[in-house]
């Protein structure tokens, strides 16, 4: 009936309003909203803590992220437009438990394979994975030639599964380029999006893998016996870097502002002047202007 449909619309409107109200977080979060859902600033306003005590991050990882921040934002924190508009979040995780499985092999230049466990508790349900990278750092004692080719052997495991028989066949990745940083540490990124995508999408809270790296000089003629492979020693176990798109209302959606000059929240914003009113009236009253002259 007409009345019930009206009620339904009002209810729907109220429901939408509640959902759309990002500030309605003052109410206690229900289970599905992981703590990470609240941007840190609101978390402080909400529970009044000046930031709960935190584990100190790995200094090399912090140095890498500070460098990433400088390339993505100005000193005042204004995002630069020089990066892909698709992601608005980058998270770096250091492995919380790793132990060497098999020692490295100087002859083949293979680094020791390490067992890595990453806890992804702070990846929230609204953060969608776009790209994932293992970040290897080397000490400056290694003088890489101009081009180097590394092969990364990666075995994904079920967390908590005995390391003797990993659940999945080993998958190896060939790295063909090296990222040169003018710092004393060299960083090498290995794209591991493919094996990680299903885990992050299914909200897995931890990722367990073992990895080793073999690097040889990248030269046109096949390496001869005399070419000793590079002696690669992993300074620290690799970090895991996730490039995500945070789809929550508080996150900045650059691709949205690129396409639409005005975001929904700004529709209530200032009209350019009287010229905007007739447009507003038409859309507001939904009357056809042809036979309603103002």
């Amino acid at each position: 009936s007409q009345a019930s449909r009206g009620e339904v619309q009002i209810a729907a409107g109220a429901e939408w309003e509640a959902e759309a109200e990002p500030w309605s977080m003052v109410k206690p979060l229900d289970k599905k909203d992981r703590p990470g859902f609240l941007p840190p600033l609101f978390k402080v306003l909400y529970n009044g803590q000046g930031g709960a005590p935190r584990q100190q991050p790995d200094s090399r990882a912090l140095r890498y992220m500070k460098r990433l921040y400088k390339s993505y934002a100005t000193k005042e924190g204004i995002p630069k437009s020089n990066r892909s508009p698709l992601y608005n979040t980058v998270r770096l995780f250091t492995s919380c438990a790793q132990h060497e499985q098999a020692p490295g092999d100087q002859v083949t230049g293979t680094s020791a394979s390490v067992d890595l466990l990453f806890h992804l508790d702070h990846v929230t349900a609204v953060e969608h994975l776009l790209k994932s990278v293992l970040l290897f750092t080397f000490s400056n004692s290694i003088s890489f030639p101009a081009a180097v080719k590394c092969v990364c052997n990666l075995v994904m495991k079920e967390p908590g599964f005995p390391s003797r028989n990993p659940r999945r066949a080993p998958s190896s990745f060939t790295l063909t380029s090296q990222l040169e940083f003018p710092k004393k540490y060299k960083w090498i990124e290995v794209d591991v999006t493919a094996p990680l995508q299903p885990l992050v999408a299914s909200n897995k809270r931890s990722v367990h893998m073992s990895v080793n790296l073999t690097c040889v000089k990248d030269q046109p003629q096949p390496p001869s016996a005399r070419d000793s492979p590079l002696n690669v020693t992993l300074l620290v176990p690799p970090s895991l870097l996730l490039y995500l798109n945070d789809t929550s209302a508080q996150a900045h959606h650059r691709w949205y502002s690129l396409h639409y000059k005005r975001r929904p929240s700004q529709n209530a914003g200032p009209k350019r002047g009287l010229s905007a009113c007739p447009q507003g009236e038409k859309s507001a009253e939904g009357v056809r202007p042809s036979h309603h002259r103002r």
Partner: protein, 135 residues
């Protein structure tokens, strides 16, 4: 001042030179007009620098000042603002005058340390006021 008028010869009433900008300033646009102000803070003042690594300085800016009576579309204000002003002045002063509030914002990039020691680069919407309006 009655006697002073008596003493002096009546001067010809010549209007003072019309200073338009003075007139506008005095009658149409109040002295402390609604506009954007800076407020630079560092997260160490809030004792948040143990988890917000960057930026070191943050200027959220804010809007402050009186809204002129004839607001018109100078502030991008809807006609409702003028109506509210008239109600306040002519009908019921308990209805507040229009307020000076932000109309547009820009995002902010932050680098934070999560409780488990992982590091996050995030961009948040609407963290810096960039334009004011009267509403």
């Amino acid at each position: 001042g009655r006697e002073t008028i008596g003493l002096e010869l009546p001067k010809p009433l010549v209007p003072a030179p019309l200073n338009l900008s003075e007139y506008f300033k005095r009658f149409l646009f109040p002295q402390n007009e609604c506009e954007l102000h800076d407020f630079r803070l560092s997260f160490s003042q809030l004792k948040w620098d143990n988890w917000i690594v960057a930026p070191h300085r943050y200027n959220p800016r804010y809007c402050k000042g009186d809204c002129p009576r004839a607001v018109g579309h100078r502030y991008g204000s809807p006609v409702h603002t003028l109506v509210q002003n008239i109600i306040h002045e002519k009908l019921d002063s308990s209805v507040p005058r229009p307020s000076c509030v932000p109309a547009k914002y820009s995002p902010l990039s932050v680098l934070t340390i999560e409780p488990d020691g992982s590091i996050a680069y995030k961009e948040y919407e609407d963290m810096i006021a960039t334009k004011c309006t009267c509403r």
